[in-house]
């Protein structure tokens, strides 16, 4: 985030952490911070998972607060973020392909510690690297 990104115009590799369970907010918070603290070449982390809406969006209770206990504010690198998902995938973007092997080993070690129910790791590119119509639509 605060780091100055390298200037090469390329899609960078991502390490995908795929836990065997959907993660609690507490676990997510620990995992993200450990990665940011212990893995030196991380540029950015994106998470995806199951949406936890703030309010019921259908049915007779439409509009009532959903009050899912895992939808809450967590601290990532000292900043408060409202977690809106039950996290199922963590995408760790690495700043250079040459740093992937080392990052992968460090991430694996962190996951072994924090995800005792199991996980798998993959390397690839899973996020968009070109803007699409949606970006224009949403003014990103």
């Amino acid at each position: 985030m605060a780091k100055k990104p390298p200037q090469e115009q390329i899609p960078l590799p991502e390490v995908l952490i795929f836990p065997a369970r959907l993660l609690k907010a507490e676990t997510t918070e620990k995992l993200l911070n450990r990665i940011y603290d212990d893995v030196p070449h991380v540029r950015h982390i994106t998470v995806s998972g199951e949406s936890l809406p703030a309010t019921l969006n259908a049915g007779p209770g439409k509009g009532l607060p959903a009050e899912h206990p895992e939808r809450r504010i967590i601290k990532v690198k000292g900043q408060e973020v409202e977690l809106r998902l039950l996290v199922g995938r963590v995408f760790v973007e690495i700043d250079d392909i040459d740093n992937v092997d080392d990052s992968l080993a460090r991430i694996e070690s962190i996951c072994n510690e924090l995800l005792p129910f199991g996980f798998s790791l993959e390397v690839g590119r899973y996020s968009k690297f070109k803007p699409t119509v949606t970006d224009y639509k949403k003014c990103r």
Partner: protein, 555 residues
């Protein structure tokens, strides 16, 4: 860690990709700056704010910076491409390439010239030569986009609006084609590999056919039923002009009749009144026609699986997203539902696995007879593999939003695999239903209620050819009774129509005229790279036809 070796290989591939072929894009954009980094985005934001002000309601939310990216849906990768887009980008209203794919199909009419030439020679006693044909083509290429040829004071269309409109000819007669001016020709010998060109020329024979592209804008303002009328009118006028005929003589009716009825091929057949569509509308396109519009086999002749998958992708958009999703249901389109068939390489994995299985255990593609025993044995193997993937890998299970998508993807792979093994599309569609029955029995779950009906009874008509009961699969389409409301199925059915022919090395699946008509580099949509084109549409890189800028106020 499981799969570490594979990861290592993948790393090597990534390294090559990133270091040696950097793309033009700026990845920093996503992670750090938000919309403020982009001039174009800022313009959009300003436009949106302006519109919101005028309408009195907010139109867009500006991106707010967050230290952690959170996404409910990760981007979709267009299968067999490197393009990632979001679900909204694959809605046909947001995707210019999808719109153009449909525009290019709807505005195409294939019309024979032999009947008209016979009338000119035998009834009017005038000679038809390559020179007169060239003159006619020059005339019709003026008339078809809306130029006046006969009446002096006829209003004309602005050429800038109809620049995508033209007429080309093709034939199995090489000598005749050699005599026609090159810009007017789709040259089968140049566009197709030699063995495919030979098949096509034999099938088409010595006849001379026109591929007519009516203007995209006309298709949009009027409808598919207009297309053959528009083309017939301009063809008749061009004959009058180029052969110096008297406009009132009875032979003119023969030209019109030939161009409207006797020698015309519509891309979609007429539908019954209750579905309220004319010809050249998506519900009337037989699966075999759609398979012939797809040009993968021409460009990638050694990859029949790709041809099938490209047909699936085109079928998903034309049949599921546009036809059933909007034409018939009136809804905003079944985008997320249909995308499962052409994104994230899931069906890809199953189909290539099936092809490998057929090659290694069943003697090769097209080597098996389409017996019940074969369909049961091979169908069970492919279907079980597909279902196992969902059971073994939560990632695959979660890639689809529900059982209907699992059912369609597993059944499409089973159908395509069996069709390739047997060179028989009806055997393929029978295997589709085998997959559905096994899926329901094995998992105790399938899709939405429709899967309880169509997919439970579909085997009963899968091998029937009698007209009230069935058809060869290539001639079935969305209008076939049992398929008329088969949401989520039609993409797979279209792929099954393509698969046996691609596996055999056939140049076409159903109609050689359609195959050649779409082997046309002047079409805005590239029918040899369907998923890539949809991806370009999502990336805002695709330039469609149907432009109206010249007749609207400048911004």
């Amino acid at each position: 860690m499981a799969g570490k070796e594979k990861d290592k290989l993948f790393l090597a591939a990534m390294k090559k990709k990133f270091k040696e072929a950097p793309t033009e894009v700026n990845t920093n954009y996503y992670t750090f700056g938000g919309w403020k980094q982009s001039k174009r985005k800022r313009e959009w934001v300003e436009q949106a704010n302006k519109i919101a002000k005028q309408r009195g309601i907010p139109m867009m939310n500006q991106d707010i910076g967050v230290p952690l990216g959170q996404r409910v849906l990760m981007p979709y990768q267009l299968s067999h491409t490197d393009i990632y887009v979001e679900a909204d980008d694959l809605h046909f209203v947001n995707n210019a390439a999808m719109q153009q794919a449909w525009d290019d199909i709807r505005r195409t009419v294939v019309s024979g010239l032999d009947t008209a030439h016979a009338v000119i020679e035998k009834r009017l006693g005038k000679e038809v030569t390559p020179e007169t044909i060239n003159h006619y083509l020059e005339t019709v290429n003026h008339a078809m986009p809306g130029g006046a040829v006969v009446q002096e004071h006829m209003a004309e269309c602005s050429p800038a609006l109809t620049a995508d409109c033209y007429v080309k000819v093709f034939s199995g007669d090489d000598e005749l084609i050699d005599e026609i001016d090159k810009p007017y020709v789709i040259n089968i010998n140049k566009e197709f590999p030699a063995d495919q060109a030979k098949q096509l020329k034999e099938a088409i024979g010595k006849g001379l056919w026109q591929a007519i592209r009516c203007p995209t804008i006309v298709g949009r303002v009027c409808d598919g039923g207009t297309m053959s009328r528009w083309s017939a009118m301009q063809i008749s006028m061009s004959f009058i002009s180029s052969y110096k005929l008297a406009a009132g003589e009875a032979a003119i009716a023969d030209f019109a009749f030939a161009a409207k009825h006797a020698s015309v091929l519509e891309m979609g057949t007429m539908m019954p009144a209750r579905r309220a569509r004319g010809p050249n509308e998506p519900g009337g396109i037989p699966f075999g026609f759609l398979a012939d519009m797809v040009q993968s086999q021409r460009k990638y002749p050694d990859d029949p699986v790709r041809a099938s998958l490209e047909t699936v992708a085109l079928g998903a958009v034309i049949f599921d997203q546009i036809y059933l999703g909007s034409y018939m249901s009136g809804g905003v389109g079944f985008t997320q539902y249909a995308t499962a068939a052409y994104t994230d390489n899931i069906l890809e994995d199953y189909c290539y696995w099936a092809a490998d299985l057929v090659k290694t255990k069943y003697g090769g593609l097209c080597k098996s007879k389409p017996t019940m025993e074969l369909i049961e044995k091979l169908g069970t193997e492919i279907n079980s593999y597909a279902l196992e993937m969902y059971e073994k890998y939560p990632a695959a299970m979660e890639a689809h939003f529900g059982g209907s998508q699992r059912a369609t993807v597993a059944a499409a792979a089973t159908g395509i695999g069996v069709a390739m093994a047997t060179a028989n599309a009806n055997a393929g569609v029978n295997a589709w239903y085998l997959s559905m029955l096994q899926h329901r029995e094995r998992m105790g779950r399938l899709g939405f209620y429709g899967y309880d009906l169509q997919d439970m009874c579909g085997a009963s008509n899968s091998l029937s050819y009698r007209s009230d009961e069935g058809l060869p699969h290539e001639l079935r389409g969305p209008n076939y009774p049992n398929y008329a409301m088969n949401v989520g199925h039609l993409s797979g059915y279209a792929g099954i129509a393509c698969a046996p022919h691609a596996a055999r090395g056939d140049a076409f699946a159903c109609n050689p005229l359609i195959k050649v008509a779409f082997a046309d580099k002047n079409l805005p949509f590239d029918f040899a790279n369907i998923t890539k084109e949809f991806g370009r549409g999502g990336l805002r890189e695709f330039m469609p036809a149907g432009e109206r800028t010249v007749i609207i106020p400048a911004k």
